[in-house]
C-alpha cells in the first residue's frame, strides 16, 4: 500500500497535489484497493465547476458504483481522458492515474498528511 508523501489526503480517500495555482486530484491507493477492479469511470468536463465535498466523478467496480468527492472548489482545467478507456490504470497506479486538474481554487477541504492518512486508513480496517 502506497501513501505518497508529496500528496495531501481527504478522509473521503482522494489525494491532492498542489502545484502553484493548480490542484491535481486522484483517489488513494487504499481507495482503489478497497473498491476492487475498476471497470468504468465518469469524469466531469473541462470548464465544469467542482465544489468541496461534492461528487465530481464516479467509478464503478464490477459490483458497485462509488462517488468521488472534490477536495477543492474551483474550475476543471484538464481531465485525464486516458482513464475513460482504461479505468484499470487506477488499480495499477493510483498516483499516476490522476482524475482532474483544478484551477481558480477558492476553497479546500480539511486535508491531512500521508502519515495521518495512513493512520486513518488503519483505523478504518
Amino acid at each position: 500500500m502506497e501513501f505518497k508523501k508529496e500528496a495531501l489526503y481527504a478522509k473521503s480517500h482522494e489525494w491532492v497535489i498542489f502545484d502553484g495555482d493548480e490542484a491535481t486530484i486522484g483517489i488513494s491507493d487504499y481507495a482503489q484497493s478497497e473498491l476492487g477492479d475498476l471497470v468504468f469511470v465518469n469524469l466531469p468536463e473541462e470548464g465544469d465547476e467542482v465544489e468541496v465535498g461534492e461528487s465530481f466523478a464516479d467509478v464503478e467496480s464490477v459490483k458497485a458504483v462509488s462517488d468521488i468527492y472534490s477536495p477543492v472548489t474551483g474550475v476543471v482545467a484538464e481531465i485525464n481522458e486516458e482513464l475513460l478507456d482504461a479505468p484499470e490504470k487506477i488499480n495499477e497506479d493510483a498516483f499516476g492515474a490522476w482524475f482532474i486538474k483544478v484551477k481558480d481554487i477558492t476553497d479546500k477541504a480539511e486535508l491531512i498528511s500521508a502519515e495521518e492518512y495512513e493512520a486513518f486508513c488503519e483505523s478504518e480496517e
Binding site: 476492487g36 477492479d37 471497470v39 468504468f40 465518469n42 464503478e60 467496480s61 464490477v62 459490483k63 458504483v65
Partner: protein, 361 residues
C-alpha cells in the same frame, strides 16, 4: 446479526473481504485476486465457492412424490435415484416463492436445496401445503456446501475422491460419495455456466474439505472465489436469481423458465392463474449496453419517452469485456437487435436486445 458459515475462519485465512448476504456473512472477493480474476479462473481453469448458506430440506414419506408434484411446477414422476431436477415453486397467484433443486434419494425420500434468504419461507410454505403421509425437515444447519466450477473442476476433484464419486452426466448426484476421505454428496450442478460439481458435506468437516480441494487444485489454477464472481458468472450464463429476475409477484413463465413448468400435470399450485394468463405479456431478455455506462439492477428502460420496463440485473461482463443486463420488458420488444435506453442514475445509456445466454461453454 449475520450468521457465519462453517467456513468463516477459512475465508479470513484466505483473505476474503467479508460482506453480509442473505442473512450470512460471506466473502464478496479475496484480496489476492478480485472479482475479474476469480471470474476468469472459473471460465479458464477452476474456482471454489462457499455456498454453505444455501438451505437443505428433506422430503420423506410414501406421499413424497405426490407432494413435490403438487407444490412444485416441474414433474418429478420419471426421475431415477440420484437424479437432480430444477424447479420453481409458485404461490396461488402464479408468482414465485423460490427456485430450487430436487435430488431423488429413493422413491420415498428427496433432498431439496433452496436459496439462503428464502429458507424459512420455503420450509413454512412446504409444511403449510403438505398432504398425506409426508414429512418436510429443515436440515440446513447440518450441511456445508462447496461448489467447484470450471473446465478443470472435475479433474481436480477426481484426484482426491473415491472411484465413482463424480456422476458422468449433468444434473445427477452421488449420495455415497467420498472426497478427501470425507463422506459427502457430489452433484454435477452449478450456477456459473461451466462444468463442475457441488459438494454437500457435514458442516463439521467443511474446513478440512476446503483445504483439501485447494491443495488438489491450486497448481491447476484453482482459486477461491467470492459472491461477486458468483453473480457475474451466473449473469453471463443468463441464469436468473431469485429477488431479481423473479419474486413473489413475478411468474417463472415471465422469467423464461417454461422448461421447468409442466402444464400437462393434472394440477400444481399456481397452474390455474398461469393457464388463465396464457402467453406472458412481459418477458425476460438479455441486453448488451452499447452506450457508455454500466447498467445495474432495477433501472428504468425507455424507448423514446415511453418507459417500457426495467433491468433486473446488470454488470460489466468480465469474459466479453462489455456491460450486460437482464431486463423485464413487454413481449413486443423482445426481438434481438431492438434498441432501447436505460436510465443509469439520470443518464440515458443505449442498449440493445441480444439472445440469452450471453455466454455458453
Amino acid at each position: 446479526m449475520e450468521l457465519k458459515t462453517p467456513l468463516y475462519e477459512k475465508h479470513i485465512e484466505y483473505g476474503g473481504k467479508m460482506v453480509p448476504f442473505g442473512g450470512y456473512i460471506l466473502p464478496v472477493q479475496y484480496k489476492s485476486s478480485g472479482v475479474i480474476k476469480e471470474h476468469m479462473a472459473v471460465r479458464t481453469a477452476a474456482g471454489m465457492f462457499d455456498v454453505s448458506h444455501m438451505g437443505e430440506i428433506l422430503c420423506e414419506g410414501p406421499d413424497a412424490l405426490a407432494n413435490l408434484n403438487m407444490i412444485l411446477t416441474n414433474d418429478f414422476t420419471n426421475m431415477v435415484d440420484e437424479q437432480a431436477r430444477y424447479s420453481p415453486m409458485c404461490n396461488e397467484q402464479g408468482g414465485t416463492v423460490d427456485d430450487l433443486i430436487v435430488y431423488k434419494m429413493n422413491d420415498n425420500k428427496y433432498f431439496i436445496v433452496v436459496n439462503a434468504a428464502n429458507k424459512d419461507k420455503d420450509y413454512k410454505w412446504m409444511c403449510d401445503h403438505q398432504f398425506g403421509d409426508v414429512t418436510f425437515t429443515d436440515v440446513s444447519s447440518q450441511y456445508a456446501q462447496i461448489a467447484v466450477q470450471g473446465p478443470k473442476a472435475k479433474s481436480i476433484i477426481s484426484k482426491i475422491c473415491s472411484e465413482g464419486s463424480i456422476p458422468d452426466k449433468y444434473y445427477y448426484c452421488r449420495f455415497g460419495a467420498e472426497v478427501a476421505g470425507i463422506p459427502c454428496i457430489v452433484s454435477t450442478t452449478g450456477y456459473t455456466g461451466e462444468d463442475g460439481v457441488e459438494i454437500y458435506l457435514p458442516a463439521t468437516k467443511a474446513e478440512e474439505m476446503w483445504d483439501a480441494i485447494y491443495e488438489a487444485g491450486k497448481d491447476d489454477g484453482l482459486i477461491p472465489c467470492g459472491l461477486g464472481a458468483r453473480d457475474t458468472l451466473r449473469m453471463e450464463a443468463g441464469m436468473p436469481l431469485y429477488g431479481h429476475e423473479m419474486n413473489d409477484e413475478i411468474s417463472p413463465r415471465e422469467a423464461g423458465l417454461m422448461f421447468a413448468i409442466k402444464m400437462k400435470k393434472d394440477d400444481f399450485i399456481g397452474k390455474k392463474p398461469m393457464e388463465e394468463a396464457g402467453k406472458p405479456a412481459v418477458v425476460r431478455v438479455g441486453l448488451k449496453i452499447t452506450g457508455r455506462g454500466i447498467a445495474r439492477e432495477f433501472q428504468d428502460i425507455y424507448i423514446g419517452d415511453k418507459k417500457i420496463g426495467y433491468t433486473t440485473s446488470g454488470t460489466k461482463c468480465p469474459f466479453f469485456d462489455y456491460p450486460i443486463a437482464m431486463a423485464r420488458i413487454p413481449r413486443e420488444y423482445k426481438e434481438p437487435g431492438t434498441k432501447m435506453e436505460i436510465d443509469v442514475r439520470g443518464r440515458r445509456v443505449e442498449a440493445e436486445v441480444i439472445p440469452l445466454p450471453f455466454y455458453k461453454r
